[in-house]
């Protein structure tokens, strides 16, 4: 009997199916819901409910000042969290990658280990911890507490990509810059930083989007005082039961995320070409 052989294309079929079923199809549904509205005289039949095409969901979203504020709060929170994550994890990843000790694996596990514990549980534990140190006795600190919780939960997602980039960093480039008389700061800004930009970009994309939507953290640590866009979408779906408006908000979020991704990718493309050597000097 002949051994089974698969071509590359055939091996890709399971993933393509998965993509179609769980990514493309839901996305199409979201778009469909976002641009429609329940209308008894509608001409489209969406699972037994008559709907008609409309932009109203978007107009409604942008005409409410509280929604604009939610966008600001969400992205403010996301930017602060991402920045803090980078500030903390960059040196850490650098040390991890450069340490001569053969303890890289152990050190890495130390930071990845928290990910093995349930997300909700970790957040609840953080609440008790914040209470113990007295950060939890005023509603003024809700935002700060939420940021702390978010940074805590998403730190591993920034350490990993930075670490993988830094471990591949060519040491000779740094040495060359030092040989040529560059000061340490100069070496860092002109050699190490540009070379690690791909890591930073993937870290940003891994943190920025989830922080705008993970309302478990903001609900638990912010005492319900911090409302983010994820919570608004959730309430549209489960409390208000307006799937059309909820999908529209999800679409808005999607578009904003695409824009930020496009910009960050542009960054990494430009700097990436520099990293390969052209235009660096």
């Amino acid at each position: 009997m002949k051994a089974l052989r698969f071509s590359r294309k055939q091996l890709g079929i399971p993933y393509a199916l998965f993509l179609l079923l769980f990514v493309v199809f839901p996305l199409v549904l979201i778009i469909l819901y976002a641009f429609t509205k329940v209308d008894p005289n509608g001409y489209i039949n969406l699972s037994g409910v008559k709907v008609s095409l409309t932009f109203e969901n978007f107009i409604e979203f942008f005409s409410k000042s509280s929604n604009i504020r939610v966008l600001f709060i969400s992205f403010g929170l996301a930017i602060v969290t991402t920045a803090l994550c980078l500030v903390i994890s960059y040196p850490l990843a650098y040390i991890l990658a450069k340490s001569k000790l053969n303890k890289n694996g152990v050190l890495l596990i130390l930071f990845i280990l928290p990910m093995w514990i349930n997300f909700v549980l970790r957040t609840a534990a953080m609440k008790e911890l914040l209470f113990a140190i007295g950060m939890y006795n005023s509603n003024k600190l809700s935002f700060v507490n939420t940021v702390i919780g978010m940074v805590y939960d998403y730190l591993p997602f920034t350490i990993l990509p930075l670490y993988t980039v830094m471990i591949k960093l060519d040491k000779s480039l740094v040495e060359a810059s030092q040989d040529l008389g560059a000061k340490p700061a100069n070496t860092f800004f002109r050699v190490t930083l540009p070379l690690t930009v791909p890591g930073i970009v993937s870290a940003v994309t891994m943190v920025l989007l989830p922080t705008t939507t993970s309302y478990v953290v903001s609900d638990t640590l912010g005492n319900g005082n911090v409302t983010i866009i994820g919570k608004v979408i959730e309430s549209q779906f489960s409390t208000v039961f307006d799937w059309h408006a909820g999908s529209a908000i999800a679409m808005v979020l999607l578009v904003i995320i695409f824009i930020t991704m496009w910009i960050t990718n542009k960054f990494s493309d430009d700097e990436g070409s520099q990293a390969r050597g052209n235009g660096l000097w």
Binding site: S66, N67, F131, N139, G181, T220, G224, S238, V240, K266
Partner: protein, 576 residues
Amino acid sequence: MRKIFSLALALITCLSLFSLTGCKKEEDVLELNVYNWEDYICKDENADLIKDFEEFATEKYGKKVVVNYSTFGTNENMYNELQLSKVKTDNGYDYGYDLVCPSDYMIQKMLGEGMLEKFDRSLGNLDNYDTYSSKYILDLFDNYGWTDYACGYMYGTMGFVYNPEVLSENSGGEYQPGDEAHWDFPWKTYSKNLGTIKDSIRDTYALAIGKVYSEELTALGLRWKGGELSDDEYQQKIVEIFNRTDEETVRKVTEELIVLKGNVYGFEVDSGKRDMASGKIAINFAWSGDAVYTLDIADENDTELFYAVPEEGSNIWFDGWVMPKGANIELSQDFVNFLADPENAKVNMNYIGYTPVVSGSAMHENAIEWYGAYTLIETDDVENADYIDEETGKAYFEYYVQDAIDEGELVAGTHYIDNGVDAETGYKMITLNEIRYPVYDDAEENIIGFELEEEVDLYLYDVSFLLNTRTETDDMFIWTDTLGRQLETQYPTRETVLRCAIMKHFNDEEMGRLNDMWDEVKVSAIPAWLMWMIVGIILLVIIVAPILSYLNKKGVHFTFKRKRKNLTPVKREIIK
């Protein structure tokens, strides 16, 4: 060849498994799909009402009965799930569930949309429910026209759980006992960062209504107490006020809630119970069932908490069983009837902490056992003793004041001082001040007595309003030594119940207004500096960065130019 053989074998095994399960399905099994709130039925190792019901029904029908029990977290989730699971049939829709337990307003909504099946009393299997249910609830259902479509399950009020000790400590004497029974309680300056409110639109709306219309409500209450308004008139007015959703009201509510948001510690749905017990907060706007639970866990930590329903009036709610279209009516009614059996209701009440609609003398006795004042009498009968002191090893009977009075062992005026009626609370009071003296000697001169450590005020608490059924209308009292705690939370007095209103289902337009109000309140105003900072960052990224990178490509470098010049002389020196 081997591979094919093993594959074929696996296939055969699979097929046979399928056919086996297929066989099982064909066997006559009755299924009951129950959809209930989380943690809303007694289901643990010691007592499992669902299993008990399955046994009971299997015996009744002579074939296997299986309960498929699933739970939901909010009324809205339940409604969504029903909408998603509906299947079109010849006579309307079939919703895939036989028995669902929504709250009052959701029952109203579902009834209005024609989603419900009628209960069929001609089948004769709702007798427990009709006999043992509280007269108050049955009358209420009759008045609203729900009797044919819903059977009550649990009910309760909304009010404040509070910790007077922490409050008086933190307020510098500003907190006065009695403040907790008014809607402005969480708005008070001394409550700052000490209170939580519910993260749910309807409940928080009721809270704000109470504050906005507190004057009107107080005036109404006075007219009612003065006899100017009848019970019914008063009820109608209260219901009208708590269901106001006109724009003016919503605007006022928004203003009040924004102020409140700055004063409270936060919004919660579930964490408030633990936060209260652990002392993180001192005021919690809560449902009475949760309040009982909170009081219980706080007692275990030696913290004494209390519960108060605002005097201006409040919200009374209930959850009831309804049958969506297409339900198995007879089996569903069996289930409802089974839960209405007082024995099962007691087990359920003990587990959940909410007040069941089941009332009558059995529940009255149960309440006495839980909340009645009693004393411990030493006994030699260790096996039947109620309580054994682990330190001394002595065994005791619990001897209830109630029993002593019922049996004529305690007679007014002879063994205790009759204090008459308390002017403030209206309760009958006695003081047992013969400390460590026997109260009664029986014929054989055995001493049965109340050994009380200190002088105790005993209150004769009237529970007849809620515990009377249509057949049992005797006065029902409980002698108790504590007020404002579990007993009063679970069984509010007639006066408290009458000042509570049921909130109706709001239509789409009203709900839209409330949702807008809620977003306005929940989403905080952003400080200007933060707004500008974010705008700045976005502008920087969108405009400046592409320009820079464009110029970079064209050979114009802005970055590090100065440093680069510094590099050159060093290079030259090396060359030299």
